[in-house]
């Protein structure tokens, strides 16, 4: 029996994957061809979705992008046995996009059936947990520290150090919280993991629980991600049934319980303390730090709060050892980063590479330039609070420290490309507008500053009180940068000032005038 793979990933669904799957099932039945349809995660080549793959003796053969109308001709061409067709792309693993990636965290995404525990185990799943169960908690934490893994949510804080603080805290209850409130525009790697390999996140959280002595975990997922929530719930149910979660994991004395909690559309809840407030059933107001969540987090107890990618990277570190992971990367940025190419880009999708690849390689070698065919004028890296980078900075390698030097951030690895039709003054205005909509309201620089920022940008765009308004934007940005309680108000100046500094002409200034 032939197996046909059609992704269940949200992006593939948004381009009609379900309709393609239905058409293939119907056509196979009509032709009396026995097939098995597997709904995998996405390979991350979204310009080719819906991407249909068939298993052949040489590997998986890819066809895409497939429309329901083309299904009949695929059968005529004998695609079930890898037959040639205009949509045939060749062997998936040999495609340039896939071939040169270093997929560690994403090793299984697009390959396995995401909600099959059996498939997960058959592809090296739960090896890390088995190792961890046999280790002392201190040794697990040491492995994570030695791997060099830093928080992939954006703050890049060493994960092992965070775990160590929680391990050393004494309390009758500790928690593991997964921040899956992936609200940054241009990012979707958390979603792809949750939909494409939910068990790897569950395994990572279980290992974290064992390492620090926490028995309860929560995954806080955006309400905008219904498919992620569904996949996680299915996977968690199987994990409980098979003894990978619950009381006495795999016959040990260790317990770990896990639950999915749904967010409700507040961007600020991606900030860790606001997220904890939300989990407790309160408004998502940012907390003062200290105390750190590692000391006093959820319900006032020591809490590890990590991003999806950080936790989903833990199993491979525990499976293959810290040195294996640490050997990838550059400088103090160790391992790999799942990079997301988005916006005005010809080939958008997911590229997992070791740190050190340049923006230019990503935008042109992987991305193929802009979707519109016009020159790429700017890219925003790291979500709505990330800086805009001009073409002159495209040779920067992806590395936390290299980006800091440019007064930019890598954040969660999302890259949004804009062509030369973009007006950067409008993007600066939007940054303030977004901050005003999403501010939790606790601190004045963010709550009031964002609205004043929109007003001043309106004046700049209209050309009234121009020089005075530009000076005011800089002054306001300084207040927000230094006086806000969290990154929402504190980093809104990144997109604003980077737009102003790199593209002064869009703000009605001459380059020379700006430099003065």
């Amino acid at each position: 029996m032939n197996t046909v793979y059609i992704p269940r990933d949200s992006s593939a669904l948004s381009l009609g994957a379900n309709q393609v799957a239905a058409a293939i099932a119907k056509k196979a039945a009509a032709r009396h061809l026995p097939i098995q349809i597997a709904r995998n995660g996405s390979r991350g080549m979204f310009w080719l979705e819906p991407l249909v793959e068939v298993a052949t003796p040489h590997g998986r053969m890819a066809y895409g992008p497939v429309t329901p109308e083309q299904v009949s001709s695929l059968f005529d061409a004998g695609f079930l046995d890898g037959g040639d067709h205009a949509l045939c792309l060749g062997l998936t693993d040999e495609l340039p996009w896939m071939k040169h990636q270093e997929r560690l965290t994403f090793a299984r995404v697009g390959i396995t059936d995401p909600v099959s525990l059996q498939d997960y185990i058959a592809h090296d799943g739960y090896k890390g947990l088995r190792n961890a169960i046999a280790m002392a908690p201190q040794d697990i934490v040491q492995q994570v520290t030695d791997s060099g893994l830093r928080g992939r949510g954006g703050a890049a804080f060493p994960t092992g150090i965070k775990w160590k603080t929680v391990l050393e805290a004494t309390a009758e209850q500790k928690y593991i919280v997964c921040n899956a409130d992936e609200g940054d525009s241009g990012t979707f790697s958390d979603r792809m993991i949750m939909e494409g390999d939910p068990f790897v996140l569950i395994e990572g959280m279980t290992i974290a629980g064992i390492a620090v002595g926490a028995t309860q975990g929560y995954i806080y997922v955006r309400s905008e991600y219904p498919h992620s929530i569904a996949a996680l719930n299915l996977a968690i149910k199987s994990a409980y049934e098979a003894g990978y979660l619950g009381r006495g994991i795999l016959g040990s004395q260790l317990d770990f319980y896990l639950e999915v909690r749904r967010a409700a559309g507040a961007y600020v809840c991606g900030e860790e303390t606001a997220l904890l407030e939300s989990l407790e059933g309160k408004r998502g107001l940012v907390r003062f730090k200290p105390p750190l969540p590692a000391i006093s987090g959820l319900f006032g107890k020591p809490t590890v709060i990590n991003n999806v990618i950080s936790l989903a990277t833990v199993p491979i570190i525990l499976d293959k050892g810290s040195a294996y992971y640490r050997d990838y990367g550059m400088g103090r940025s160790r391992g790999t980063l799942p990079i997301q190419l988005a916006g005005n880009i010809k080939h958008g999708g997911l590229v997992e590479k070791a740190f050190g690849i340049t923006l230019r390689e990503l935008l042109y070698d992987y991305g193929g330039g802009s979707a519109t065919g016009r020159p790429i004028k700017a890219v925003q890296v790291g979500g709505p609070l990330g800086a805009y980078l001009p073409e002159s900075q495209f040779d920067t390698p992806l590395d936390y420290e290299e980006f800091s030097k440019l007064w930019a951030v890598l954040g969660h690895g999302g890259i949004v490309a804009f062509d030369d039709t973009v007006d950067m003054a409008h993007m600066a205005r939007y940054a303030f507008e977004f901050c005003a909509i999403e501010s939790c309201g606790k601190c004045t620089p963010c709550r009031i500053g964002s609205t004043r920022g929109v007003e001043v940008m309106d004046k700049i765009i209209a050309g009234t009180e121009h020089a005075q308004s530009v000076a005011l934007v800089r002054d306001l940005s300084d207040t927000m940068l230094n006086g806000s309680l969290c990154a929402l108000g504190g980093m809104t100046p990144y997109p604003v000032l980077s737009a102003l500094n790199h593209f002064p002409e869009d703000f009605g200034l001459l380059k020379k005038e700006q430099a003065a």
């Binding site: 979707f188 905008e224 507040a266 916006g343």
Partner: protein, 155 residues
Amino acid sequence: MHDQQARIKSHIESHRHMAGALMPLLHAIQDDLGYIPEECYNLVAKALNLSIAEVHGVVTFYHHFRTKPPGRHVLQVCRAESCQAMGCTALETHVKSALGIDYHETTSDGTITLEPVYCLGNCACSPAIMLDDQVYGRVSPQQVEHLLASAREVS
């Protein structure tokens, strides 16, 4: 009305013992009724030992929760940067004028409620929209009109 109250009470019963019960409870109520009626604040507050002000504060803090019934379909248009890079501003203008409403409003025939959304995680396929529970990527204004027309037919 009586039925609605009974349903709310049953959601309260099945959620009240959870740790941090308020958010899951509010989701359950909105999933069932389409919105969170203000009349239920009192019941929810009492069951969770909160003040009515605290419940009101939470309901109104989160963009996802609504206190009025929506139209039969909810259309969310993504306004975030990636979608802007692919022309969502023109799409928004088109949708608003085609429906004759602004964001947070419902068409006079009660079929469509229009909401902005800040990222659907479909950024490699911008511009994106969500109609009820289904995300659509790389949409054109014509495609959105077509989707809305079919939604109106089945409603």
